[in-house]
Amino acid sequence: MNNLIRLVDGQAQLLSDDPWTLVREIEDELPTGPLILPLAHWREGHGIWLSPDDEVESLELRLGELSLIAIDFPSFRDGRGYSQAYLLRTRLGWQGELRAIGDVLRDQLSHMRQCGFDSFAVREDKSAEDALKGLAGMSVLYGRSAIEPRPLFRRR
């Protein structure tokens, strides 16, 4: 995938050599190389992507075999992906790459990051470099998040 931001040790990097190919619809002929496949079509050695309707709990037994999970935002206004990401990180213990795909835009990146995403496939018609500016967000988080489990009242 192109137009990608990835957090490595907390540092954001723009990636132009990402090896993964996103497969939205299964065709007869699959591309070569590592693929990000729909949940129903996952096969070993590949990554998986979840639609907002998919239950993250269904991945529980498979997590050890996965090398990448992507979560799709069909519209940036559909907020289910935030809960999916949060649960994957905090409840299911997913430690591997968690990638936001679909309608991924600068002004939501910081929320995605706080819910546990560590890579962001910025929508193709937008500049990933520009989107980087949205990654930091606010310095204050009252509640808690996947990356800061303690609410502010325990840090204040």
């Binding site: 940036f76 606010m138 609410p151 502010l152 204040r156």
Partner: protein, 557 residues
């Protein structure tokens, strides 16, 4: 009052800078209308019929005098000299220039105010009742938990793109003055016999097209679990609430579809995972916030004041105002005063000019401890007035058009902005309110009628709460012209009820007559001092229908 510390301050200022950048990018064409929409909504900015409208939060309805002066300044410098107080303890400015919004928000941030999440599909302003901290029937002050919830729900990253808006209210008094049952989550705070603070949690209330009263999902929730329990509800809703149809997207529809038991089960399962985690509230945090709401230093006064007593006897108009607009206070010698924003046709319900706002801010300092409250009935409250000062305050309030003695009476109308401002309206609300107020301009008669709530909404979104008015008026569209449907028997509070439609709708011109017939029916059937709503309960809709429609037919013939 709660005052910002460095975290709270940093957050609002960073938010202003962030939104300034977003406005610039929108105006420069970098952000599309669609991309900008939720960003501006989450900063309180609507596009109305004629201009942008900015909705500023007044968390749990509490304002300091300097904050009210700042609102006056915004009305004066950035709007047309007035603001509109809403039924959800916010203020709206109707004539705002987009390019100036970041500056307005910066001015607000200076006085610890903001417009964050006053709109959009996120957790909205947390509301409580206007007499929190002072009401004589209060069990405990709900504001510390309201503030804790406000903070926790502000820019909570997981819950900013919910299926639909989400409203939370909390109250802790014998009477429910916060419309708890009409909220997505409603919280009743009380103590058990051992003095432990507990919460009764209601879920799935809401008005709009499908008015539903909240159902109890949990009794006896220890307060330490407030945040985790609300989080569990929000997570279940965020994951499973409908997103295919915005009229079916509120949590009430999910609760109804699953049934309260199945919904409660989902929430309980989710909650088991998080209940004893770091979201559990600590005594230290409660105390930190509660310290901001310690009662002011009241004087030790006798509960009876000679001068006040004399004035009551001498001045009937004053006595009438005291009877309607003055509320008992828990501290002897003090009272809470409601300033009516409903003088009649002179001004739309809920509107205050910059001059009036400045005056109220002055009175709050002269006659109180510098604090003002906003009631969800769209009136303003001075919570701590010495009884001996009531007469002086009344005189000033009358000079400013804020002394109408009509709290709880028929002319204390709750109305949404309606067709004069709102792009979604079927019909106008304000002229209807004014026509009714004009018809019932005899205060003696109004006082005889007694308590009646009358609510007007310009469309089924129900911003004027028409479903829970004893008399409800709803603007409907019939072939492009404006008509009004009337309901009777709605009520708020612990005995909340939704009103029932009395029959076919009326034209604007008919409405004052219709209300007059309804009131006349009531006075005919009333037994001794019975309240309007109780008479409706007792005799049902028939007698009202008969009279109203007989009259209307007579005219048509």
């Amino acid at each position: 009052m709660y005052h910002y510390d460095e975290y709270d301050r940093a957050l609002v200022f960073e938010r202003v800078a962030q939104f300034r950048d977003q406005v610039q990018r929108f105006m420069g064409g970098e952000l599309s209308e669609e991309e900008f929409l939720p960003l501006r909504l989450q900063n309180g900015l609507y596009l109305q019929k004629h201009a942008y409208m900015l909705r500023v939060a007044i968390p749990y309805g509490t304002l300091g005098a300097n904050q009210l002066r700042t609102l006056a300044r915004i009305a004066r410098e950035f709007d047309r000299g007035y603001g509109h107080f809403t039924t959800r303890q916010n203020i709206q400015f109707n004539w705002i220039e987009l390019a100036q919004v970041p500056d307005i928000l910066a001015i607000l941030a200076e006085v610890e105010m903001h417009a964050i999440q006053t709109s959009g599909n996120c957790v909205r302003n947390i509301t409580t009742e206007a007499f929190a901290g002072v009401a004589a029937d209060e069990l405990m002050d709900p504001r510390p938990l309201a503030e804790i919830l406000r903070q926790w729900s502000t820019i909570n990253p997981e819950f900013l793109y919910l299926p639909r808006k989400f409203k939370i209210a909390i109250c802790s008094a014998e009477q429910d003055r916060a419309a708890i049952m009409m909220h997505d989550i409603g919280l009743y705070l009380y103590r058990d016999p051992n003095g432990e603070m507990l919460l009764r949690v209601m879920v799935g209330g809401g008005l709009g097209r499908t008015p539903i009263l909240g159902l109890q999902i949990r009794e006896g929730l220890p307060w330490q679990h407030l945040l985790s329990y609300v989080e569990a509800i929000l997570r279940v809703y965020n994951r499973h609430g409908r997103r295919d149809n915005k009229y079916k997207a509120r949590i009430k529809i999910l609760v109804k579809a699953l049934g309260i038991d199945a919904f409660a089960h989902e929430v309980e399962q989710e909650w088991q995972h998080i209940k004893d985690g770091p979201a559990q509230l600590t005594d230290a945090e409660y105390q930190r916030v509660a310290n901001a709401f310690v009662p002011p230093s009241y004087q030790t006064l006798s509960d009876t004041d000679l001068d006040f007593g004399t004035r009551l006897v001498m001045d009937a108009a004053f006595a009438r105002w005291v009877a309607r607009n003055v509320q008992p206070h828990k501290v002897p010698g003090y009272a809470s005063v409601v300033l009516s924003t409903k003088p009649g046709p002179a001004a739309p319900p809920g509107d205050l000019t910059d001059i009036q706002m400045d005056a109220v801010a002055d009175w709050a300092e002269i006659f109180g401890f510098g604090e003002i409250r906003i009631a969800h009935e769209q009136n303003l409250i001075l919570p701590d007035v010495r009884k001996r000062d009531l007469y002086a305050l009344w005189a000033r309030a009358c000079e400013q058009g804020l002394g109408t003695a009509n709290i709880g009476l028929l002319t204390d109308i709750i109305a949404c902005p309606g067709g004069d401002f709102c792009a979604l309206a079927n019909a106008k609300s304000i002229p209807i309110a004014q026509a009714i107020q004009q018809r019932f301009d005899d205060l003696d008669y109004l006082h005889d009628i007694g308590d009646v709530s009358l609510n007007i909404s310009g469309c089924m979104n129900a911003c004027g709460h028409h479903h829970i008015g004893n008399i409800g008026i709803l603007g409907v569209d019939k072939n492009g012209s404006e008509w009004y449907q009337v309901t009777l028997g709605g009520a708020q509070g612990k005995d909340s009820a939704l009103g029932k439609v009395i029959g076919p709708s009326f034209s604007a011109a008919q409405i004052p007559d219709v209300i007059e017939q309804i009131v006349a029916t009531f006075t005919d059937y009333r037994e001794s001092d019975e309240l309007f709503v109780d008479t409706v309960q007792r005799i049902g809709l028939e007698p009202f229908k008969e009279r109203v429609y007989a009259k209307a037919e007579g005219e048509a013939a």
